[in-house]
């Protein structure tokens, strides 16, 4: 009996340990990315004067192989924000509408099909989206003179919009669904039509959840790598040509150079990753604050 108790205690410890692995992973990831990236600001050698944090973040020039090298990641930050904004402008209205559709309008079979559609869109690997993007660009380049669908911000935004759509749809649906039935019934009792109930009662009540969805979508868009790297054009300069500019985002910068980078250059890529990491963490904190404020649970 005593042995049995001890055995149970050991197993319980194992469960606890497993449960802490996620937290440990987050801590380890944070620590090691910092460890590799932060030295950029402190490594001083004869031919290399380390950039200040300000120079790094707001520098407009990225010439890692020059002597002395220039590490300014403003172009990447602008590019990341630009494609993310473009993606959200396209994805939020559609995602919202489809979320409402699944939660309130569609019934039975239509609802099931659309839910599967959303899941499959979420499941398609990003490299496949990228491949599709490349093929579409090829098609447009072949058939039109100077089409807007080229290796540029526009294409990257469209692909990212499709990729963030499922996140927004899902969370909109869950949020609207979790608004208490009383709200709907109250609205109908007051003579509200179905659409008035949706637009004036359900969506406002689900607002926090929807915002969380948009932020999560933003996180997915900003951190997305493989789809963007194939369609965004990969030009490390400040975008000047609007939607037609070829750009390189933060994620692209890391993947693009990591294969051959050495010394300071490699460190600078990790520093770039730190910036990306900060963006993601900020978005995470924002969702935490919003979910804690609202009574609606978003899974």
């Amino acid at each position: 009996m005593k042995f049995r108790k001890q055995y149970e205690r050991v197993i319980e410890r194992l469960f606890l340990f497993s449960a802490t692995i996620s937290v440990l992973s987050v801590l380890f990831i944070t620590f090691f990315i910092m460890l590799e990236g932060l030295p950029l600001f402190f490594r001083s050698t004869t031919e290399f004067a380390p950039p200040t944090v300000f120079e790094f973040l707001f520098g407009l020039e990225w010439f890692p192989t020059d002597t002395p090298p220039k590490y300014g990641i403003m172009p990447f930050i602008v590019a990341s924000l630009l494609v993310t904004a473009g993606a959200l402008i396209l994805a939020v209205p559609v995602g919202l509408a489809v979320g409402i559709f699944i939660a309130e309008i569609a019934k039975g079979r239509t609802q099931r099909i659309l839910r599967s559609v959303t899941e499959i869109l979420a499941g398609i690997p990003s490299v496949v989206y990228g491949f599709f993007g490349v093929m579409m660009i090829g098609f447009f380049l072949q058939n039109f003179d100077d089409p807007i669908v080229n290796y540029n911000v526009f294409s990257a935004s469209v692909i990212l919009a499709v990729m963030t759509l499922p996140t927004i749809i899902n969370i909109t649906e869950v949020s609207i669904r979790s608004v208490p039935k009383d709200f709907t019934e109250g609205s109908f009792a007051l003579g509200g039509t179905h659409w008035q109930t949706i637009s004036r009662v359900l969506v406002p009540a689900a607002r926090n959840g929807i915002i969380t969805g948009v932020i999560l979508g933003m996180g997915r868009a900003i951190g997305e790598t493989m789809a963007v790297i194939m369609v965004a054009g990969n030009q490390p300069t400040i975008p000047t040509d609007g939607l037609r500019s070829r750009v390189r985002t933060l994620t692209m910068a890391v993947v693009n150079d990591m294969g051959y980078a050495a010394d300071d250059h490699r460190v600078a890529l990790f520093t770039t990753a730190i910036v990306l990491f900060f963006f993601i963490m900020a978005l995470n904190v924002a969702t935490q604050i919003i979910t804690r404020k609202s009574s609606i649970k978003v899974s």
Partner: protein, 572 residues
């Protein structure tokens, strides 16, 4: 959901306000239906496009000869005939003269680009009855012998000798008289395409920034029959009668350049191809010029503007006549079962996906072996042991945060931590561990939901029967929650299979079979990325993408089925 009839709607006229509200509702719902349709359309477009191209490939290629195949060709005036024989396993239906020539003078030792098989050419010439010298006159430039090009070519004097080579070498290509060719077992005759379309040099000249690059076979027929009279109708040049004058803003003035067929009469012998090569039942236009010797043909063609003619590719090459590329559309089934069993080579341009599939399956097995126990244990702790409070909040926060970290960050972390600090190098172990922490949140969350959905009564019943807490968990709760847990595992498979960014620097991208745990290998998603980035083979990329999409469908189908079963069980 809501009833949309207004009480007394049919009797009383609607007020203006009601009408506006109803119209708004119709418009809004219309927009929402539109958005839903758009989402569905996007999915159908993407998936349909990928799967269609994955199963079926259509390739337009230009060839220097007409798509007219002959089982055997006459070499010269003596009437010697030549056939090409290949092993039955070789994926080739016909061979164009230029390729045949390159194979027999050693310039194309590799057959991958002709057959999509990873084999080298073994050219064999039948050497009996003076056939070898005849073959030289056909396959090699004037006056050259096979010996001139080294010992690439094997001579075989009897059917038995040829048979031995054919059975030994999958890349054997034999030229022999048809009578001999028929007697070799386990082979097939590959058709020969040797009819070139030659034109007056002006036809291929650049005019107004455009150049006639290729024609379709029926366009050639149209030019011959007179259905198309002028070259400009098929994208060719016109005669410029007044030059472009930029200063006075005068665009050039042009007159149509008529197509003039030049026909080499059959009396010229082996060099004159049959007019069947152009099309069946060809009616010649009356402007056609007929000549009787090869020399006259060449002379007419180089001096008559607008001339077009067909001649054997060998004579066209010897006389260096300008020839037109002929467009040929070929279709084939792309994702064949053989693709799964053949090894990739030439960076994935030819061959199959066997190594890649093995590597991917190994990766998934390893990831699941590590991630499932950890994830389920974590979920058990969160649901069965932890009490609401600080600890559980931190643990949940950790899982949520981990789920939000982009895969490229995981890749960098894996590269530093697993590959370098822990010393696993770039390979299966590093990649697997990186993926494990990446998919952990998926497994933890779905397992949590599954465990929560097990009714409390089940637990209490078990405890009341005297089982310990652990026995209850393992014998009662886990079995009841297993469909839900399995759902999480399948979702995790879907995510792991498609992951690329995290694997580029941890698993590597070497096109090698998994042999050791610490050497770089390539999985399916990375393979797809490499095929596109280096523009190696678009058909193969479609095949890889199709496999990935099919896996997504499988994941969706099985999780939906499992959840359906779970709901049913909960309902009972």
């Amino acid at each position: 959901m809501a009833t949309q009839t207004i009480p007394g709607m049919k009797d009383a006229p609607l007020s203006d306000h009601t009408r506006v509200v109803l119209r708004q509702q119709t418009i809004a719902k219309g927009i929402i239906w539109g958005a839903a349709g758009l989402t569905m359309g996007i999915l159908i477009l993407i998936v349909g496009y990928i799967i269609f191209n994955g199963l079926y490939t259509r390739q337009i290629r230009d060839y220097p000869v007409m798509p007219y195949t002959q089982e055997s060709v006459v070499i010269d005036g003596s009437g010697t005939e030549l056939s090409v024989v290949v092993p039955r396993s070789m994926r080739i239906r016909d061979v164009i003269y230029q390729d045949l020539r390159d194979i027999f003078n050693g310039r194309t030792p590799y057959l991958g680009y002709l057959t999509t098989q990873n084999i080298n050419a073994v050219p064999v010439v039948y050497s009996g009855e003076g056939f070898a010298t005849a073959a030289e006159r056909y396959l090699l430039p004037e006056g050259r012998t096979f010996e001139f090009y080294g010992d690439d070519v094997t001579f075989a004097g009897t059917v038995e000798e040829i048979q031995a080579i054919v059975d030994e070498e999958p890349g054997t290509i034999v030229v022999a008289p048809p009578a001999i060719a028929e007697r070799i077992d386990r082979t097939k005759i590959a058709g020969i395409r040797q009819v070139a379309v030659v034109v007056h040099p002006d036809i291929l000249a650049l005019q107004a920034g455009r150049r006639l690059e290729h024609l379709e076979r029926n366009q050639v027929a149209d030019l011959y029959s007179g259905d198309v009279v002028a070259w400009s109708a098929v994208g060719g040049p016109s005669i410029e009668i007044e030059a472009q004058d930029l200063a006075n803003d005068i665009e050039g003035i042009y007159e149509p350049l008529p197509a003039i067929p030049v026909i080499l009469d059959e009396s010229a012998g082996a060099a004159a191809p049959s007019l069947d090569a152009i099309g069946d039942d060809l009616s010649l236009r009356d402007t056609a010029i007929t000549v009787t010797t090869v020399e006259a043909f060449i002379e007419t063609l180089t001096t008559t503007r607008g001339a077009i003619g067909i001649i054997r590719a060998r004579e066209a090459m010897e006389a260096e006549l300008p020839y037109l590329e002929i467009e040929r559309v070929s279709h084939w089934a792309n994702l064949r079962p053989a693709l799964f069993f053949r090894a990739p080579s030439r960076a994935g341009a030819v061959g199959g996906l066997s190594y890649i599939i093995v590597n991917t399956v190994a990766m998934i097995i390893f990831v699941l072996l590590i991630a499932t126990p950890i994830g389920v244990s974590a979920a058990i702790f969160l649901v069965e042991y932890a009490k609401q409070g600080r600890l559980i909040y931190i643990l949940r926060l950790g899982t949520d945060t981990l789920a939000g970290i982009p895969s490229i960050i995981f890749g960098l972390f894996g590269m530093v931590f697993f590959s370098q600090i822990l010393g696993f190098k770039t390979g299966l172990v590093s990649g697997t561990l990186t993926l494990t922490i990446m998919i952990l949140p998926t497994i933890v969350r779905t397992s949590e939901e599954a465990l929560k959905s097990v009714s409390g009564g089940l637990r209490e019943g078990s405890l009341a029967l005297g089982a310990t807490k652990l026995q209850t968990i393992f014998r009662v709760v886990l079995p009841a929650a297993s469909p839900g847990i399995l759902t999480g595992v399948i979702l995790a498979i879907g995510r792991a299979v498609g992951e690329t960014a995290a694997l580029l620097f941890t698993m590597g991208s070497n096109l090698a079979l998994l042999r050791s745990l610490n050497s770089p290998i390539r999985v399916l998603s990375v393979h797809l990325y490499m095929l596109i980035r280096e523009n190696i083979s678009i058909p193969n990329a479609f095949a890889a993408a199709t496999i990935l999409v099919v896996i997504v469908f499988f994941v969706n189908y099985s999780t939906t089925k499992l959840i359906g079963r779970l709901n049913k069980a909960a309902g009972q």
